[in-house]
């Protein structure tokens, strides 16, 4: 029972990370109507920045803050140089163009940091375990991820729904021309939104970095999970992305943890150990297909502008 609880917490933590990535993706798609495959590259760049800056400053927190700032700048630069020219284009053009950017970023990282991966060591105060329930020890760092991601989700909600900037963002999403005609600098607004999405992706990347290795291509597999999340949630809906991210995180984690044993009940353990990993990788795609067959525009469809 404790094991199930522990895996649920892991699933929640993974889901929240996915949400950070998916939030930027769904903001950029919902507001600028841009399919950005290179979003995963910003996730990767965030992790590399964090590893480098942490090594420089000797402090994990300082490294993380610097990395977020750097990712924000990189994101805004990418928007000004490339992305802005892709708004209003066919989605396929955007897919090809941003696919080109993935190749570019992967090679750039290979040139700057070399082909071998980096590791991002945790400070002592984060690598401890604490007893959250009698008999259940849980890593401090994973709790820190959950708390940080929840706080960021709340801040994002407040930013979009309760501030003047958020109001402008929503106005720009629903009618670009009219907002521009009222004297709002739309292109600056879009640059800011893109930078914000980049920083969220980088935050997800740098928080995942101490758990996995920092390596080239780390953004691509998780990017597809983020796409699955925004599809299930309904494109453009942050609330949908939040709920779908936690669903996907839980199902993926629990599937990987318990499917081998469940399969072992109905077939030989050797067969189960062969089939279960493939089957658990399938689970979230099955979930997405069921959602799409029943509700072709996701769980929380955003009304057409």
């Amino acid at each position: 029972m404790l094991l199930v609880l522990e895996q649920c917490l892991n699933g929640l933590q993974f889901g929240l990370l996915l949400f950070l990535l998916a939030a930027g993706l769904t903001l950029v798609f919902g507001i600028m109507d841009l399919v950005n495959l290179a979003h995963g590259s910003l996730y990767m760049v965030g992790a590399y920045f964090a590893a480098t800056f942490t090594a420089w400053t000797g402090s994990f927190v300082a490294g993380a803050v610097l990395a977020l700032g750097a990712a924000l700048i990189v994101g805004m630069a990418v928007e000004v140089i490339a992305m802005r020219r892709l708004y209003g284009r066919d989605h396929l053009d955007q897919v090809l163009g941003t696919f080109g950017l993935i190749l570019f970023f992967n090679e750039l990282v290979r040139i700057v940091w070399g082909p071998a991966g980096l590791s991002l060591p945790l400070p002592a105060w984060l690598s401890a375990w604490i007893e959250i329930l009698p008999g259940l020890d849980y890593p401090t760092y994973r709790i820190a991820i959950i708390v940080t991601a929840l706080a960021v989700a709340l801040l994002l909600y407040l930013l979009v729904m309760r501030t003047r900037l958020g109001m402008l963002i929503r106005a720009g999403a629903s009618n670009r021309e009219m907002t521009g005609a009222l004297g709002v600098n739309i292109s600056l607004l879009y640059t800011l939104v893109f930078g914000l999405g980049a920083a969220l992706a980088a935050l997800a990347g740098l928080m995942q970095a101490p758990i996995q290795t920092v390596q080239i291509g780390m953004g691509e597999n998780i990017l597809f999970l983020a796409f699955v999340v925004i599809i299930i949630g309904g494109i453009g809906s942050i609330r949908g992305a939040f709920i779908a991210a936690i669903m996907v995180g839980l199902i993926d984690t629990l599937g990987r943890a318990f499917l081998p044993d469940l399969m072992g009940l109905i077939m030989s353990s050797r067969g189960a150990s062969q089939v279960a990993p493939a089957l658990s990788s399938m689970l979230i795609y099955v979930l997405m297909m069921i959602v799409l067959v029943v509700r072709p525009a996701g769980l929380f469809p955003v009304s057409i502008k």
Binding site: D93, G100, I102, F227, I231, V275, L279
Partner: protein, 332 residues
């Protein structure tokens, strides 16, 4: 349309002549790598042409088209593994299995639109990919070696590389012709009409879902045949054949070459695959005057950093891909 001596037509005819002469050149020069490369190009061009039917003309962006390459290939591999070597049996099964899968995928996916359609076809491709990974009897992740190419006793000897190459080329030209005939038929016009405005097509009485599904199945079946060719070419099949990056490559070929044009996918396939081989050499050549040789060689290993922005430039400045560039016309 009356003008025949356009730059585009000259390039296409030149390309076809070059493709036809590859085995002759190889038999003189003895460069078998060139033969392997071009067989691959021709087969993937055929897959890209089939994708163009639904993506370019039908507006159905399937992000899982490589799955039919895999299914066609696995049909050959599994039958060969089980002792059925006759191509007369293998190839129809490869085509039929791909068509059947396309029917199921299409029937469930075509209800959705836009990014949702892209992602649901992607999800089906991932399912089949992981199914391949789980096929323990047939090599799972490591794949399956095919010890004998398909046997067409008394008709064709596929172990002869030149014969096999010309068969692939013939099938490619046949595919391009078939797609051209299809899109200019009533059927093709309905599909293209549905790309522009599906609701209006339905309003004037066309059951567009059936038309689109038929197009989807035809594209899947052709790609399954390409998969059968690919498996015979590499004498090997593994889940990697249907990895999503391969589906992405096929989309790149179509968009790069020029969507909704007969020869665009061929031009795109040749450009992409030849560039991948040539870019390191080009970078080396350009860098030699400025850098010492080891450094120039090292730099040339980073060729994707040039390829990536090149895609972006094609998207930004060449609407209609290479085909549009060669026609010199801005379509839209």
């Amino acid at each position: 349309m009356t003008e025949w001596f356009t730059l585009r037509n000259i390039v296409v005819v030149g390309l076809l002549i070059v493709l036809a002469l590859v085995p002759v050149y190889v038999s003189i020069g003895g460069n078998t790598f060139l033969m392997t490369l071009f067989t691959r190009i021709v087969i993937l061009a055929m897959a890209a042409t089939s994708l163009n039917l639904i993506l370019g003309y039908g507006g159905m962006v399937s992000f899982g088209h490589a799955v039919y390459l895999g299914v066609g290939g696995y049909a050959i591999g599994i039958l060969a593994h089980e002792g059925v070597a006759s191509g007369f049996l293998q190839w129809p099964i490869a085509i039929g299995a791909s068509a059947l899968l396309a029917l199921v995928v299409g029937a469930l996916s075509l209800r959705t639109r836009g990014l949702y359609f892209i992602m649901i076809t992607f999800a089906f491709a991932q399912l089949v990919y992981y199914f391949g990974v789980g096929l323990e009897r047939y090599g799972a992740d490591d794949g399956l070696t095919i010890y004998r190419r398909s046997q067409f006793a008394g008709v064709l000897d596929l172990s002869n590389r030149a014969v096999f190459y010309y068969l692939c080329l013939l099938l490619l030209v046949g595919t391009i012709y078939l797609v051209w005939r299809l899109v200019n038929s009533r059927f093709g016009l309905v599909i293209q009409g549905s790309r522009s405005n599906d609701r209006r097509m339905q309003a004037i009485g066309f059951p567009t879902f059936r038309y689109r599904l038929t197009g989807f199945v035809i594209a899947g079946a052709i790609c399954g045949l390409a998969g059968a060719l690919l498996a015979n070419h590499t004498e090997f099949i593994s889940p990697a054949t249907m990895h999503w990056t391969r589906s992405g490559d096929l989309i790149v070929m179509v968009v790069l070459g020029g969507m909704a044009s007969s020869f665009g996918p061929l031009i795109g396939a040749v450009t992409l695959l030849v560039l991948e081989e040539l870019l390191p050499a080009i970078i080396r050549l350009l860098a030699f005057p400025f850098l010492d040789p080891p450094m120039a060689v090292k730099i040339s290993e980073y060729w994707p950093i040039v390829l990536g922005p090149l895609f972006l430039l094609v998207v930004l400045f060449a609407r209609g891909g290479m085909n549009g560039l060669l026609e010199g016309a801005r379509r839209d």
